[in-house]
Symmetry: C2
Subunit: 325 residues, 2 copies
């Protein structure tokens, strides 16, 4: 599957649906939304919804509003996350709150969060189906917020365990990442058994995604203008947790000290120190193996699905683990 | 109608519905929600939903989840508003972001925003009705966010007109304030004509509410620990707009200067100067008259409604304009 080719052929459907609900002309609101959405190009989530719906034998046009809703959901969560994490750059550009201020940043996210439901309610499905889509979306947003609270809490934890970490990332990602597929299956009238399998798939692919994210921060930089931003933010990444479980008492003291500094006070030398320690204890290798093992477990679930769905799930699993940003 | 008596008799229904969806034990999330909701006691919005539903001949228990949803909607908007406005006190207590930090503050609001829909989806109505309630709620939230963007924008406007102000407050309050009644009418299967009248009522009662709010900031303090907080925040209140339209060029320059200072840099002398100017030009009197005139217009719409509904709308109009906080 070639993601660019698919984006070219399906992108318009998604953009049309989004443009349909973002038509207002209030300054620092609809322009800010357009600014934010235009910074990200691949539209992997809505494409996943469309591909799944097609694989289930349905006409892609009908799922377009829900597919767009998945993209909007993804994007508003990023707008708020960037404020919560103090991230100034996203996809190599200033984040919404940096460009428009924190007040507008919060409000922009709030409007988008509700536009998600406007899109779903616009779908041309029967009422039962629309309600199910609303419920699946709301559930994903709630689980993500619960995971985010655990994530913020973990940053004050000086003895974080892999168990804490797994609970947090599973909460944050499992439902959220699989929503496009789950919604497409709901809309196509698939049996609950298949939907459950997709959520189960998410419980493995979500952690695979997040662990890959942790590694990318230290290797590629994730479009945030620097390498090792997570260290500055004090994130208890899988690298941190693994390293803490292996290092000496002195090293432990030093690394916690670095993580607990405010981002502005964390120096490049601090980041380099942490990185060196991760290398010493092979924490990056550990994380990569873990991500691959989760992806492999996710694929085992995909193996029990119909062939054309399996293909999509394999593609998604590979995409999440092998991406470079 | 005695609001305390009604709160005592219906409060439990509402609290039970809220407790039903706020059961998690993730620190800095569910405890923060409980903290915030417990600071406000009167539950005027959910009571309005219940009273309206009863007045339409229905059993109050069925509307309880939607009534609770209105209270949660109201409260999450306040959580985010307090961050956006930099308000440190609400209902005489530290605001959520002051107590739990900005990151948790945003996330708490996001979770609550979705719990609103969880409550609505839990209602024991048919699917069509639940969808209509979802749509009315989503629309109110969208209009409120649009109004909020205009509000934030207005603070950078040095020549604000009453027209700008009216557009902003009508956006921010008309749908939002009438949602409890509109939802109750939708759930009771009322005709569209009655629902339209309620929204029309909101277009007068919303401004009456907001203008009263502007006056209260300068007279009673609105539970934010000080008098004149709006001046510190640079809000273009009706008092500011009226005063600017009457005062001399010098006074105009001085008042804009005060409003454009950051809240920390605005002194008590600055607030006193503005207050004195509002008195000089009778801006407070102007605002009070305006609020009363809007309330009177709202009541004229109420006069065209069935007697027991009219009674509720009159009560609500009086409550909003005559309240002391």
């Amino acid at each position: 599957m070639d993601i660019e080719e698919i984006t070219n052929s399906k992108g318009q459907l998604i953009d049309d649906a989004m443009n349909d609900v973002f038509k207002g002309n209030i300054p620092n609101l609809y322009d800010a939304i357009k600014y934010h959405i235009d910074t990200g190009g691949k539209r992997i989530r809505p494409i996943l919804a469309i591909l799944t719906y097609e694989a289930l034998g349905k006409e892609p046009r009908n799922i377009a509003p829900f597919a767009a809703a998945c993209e909007v959901l993804h994007n508003w969560i990023l707008v708020h996350d960037d404020i919560e994490d103090g991230d100034k750059m996203r996809r190599e550009k200033p984040t919404v709150w940096v460009k428009y201020g924190i007040a507008h940043g919060i409000n922009v996210g709030d409007l988008m969060a509700h536009k998600v439901f406007e899109l779903i309610l616009k779908s041309d499905f029967d009422e039962k189906t629309i309600l199910k889509l609303t419920e699946a979306t709301m559930t994903a947003a709630i689980k993500t917020a619960e995971g985010q609270a655990m994530d913020i809490n973990l940053r004050d934890n000086n003895s974080p365990t892999e168990n804490d970490y797994m609970r947090m990332i599973t909460g944050k990602t499992a439902h959220y990442l699989t929503l496009p597929m789950v919604g497409a299956a709901v809309a196509a009238g698939s049996k609950q058994d298949m939907i459950n399998k997709m959520i189960e798939f998410g419980k493995f692919i979500g952690p695979a995604f997040q662990i890959t994210d942790d590694v990318l921060d230290l290797t590629e930089g994730k479009g945030r203008g620097e390498i090792g931003r997570d260290i500055k933010e004090g994130k208890r990444s899988i690298l941190v947790i693994h390293c803490l479980s292996k290092c000496t008492k002195e090293e432990r003291k030093k690394i916690i000290e670095i993580l607990n500094k405010s981002p502005e006070k964390t120096s490049s030398a601090d980041v380099a120190f942490a990185k060196k320690l991760f290398e010493k204890y092979k924490s990056i290798e550990y994380a990569r193996n873990k991500a691959e093992s989760f992806a492999a477990q996710a694929k085992k679930i995909a193996d029990t699905m119909p062939r054309n769905l399996k293909e999509i799930l394999y593609f998604f699993a590979d995409y999440l683990v092998k991406r470079k940003k």
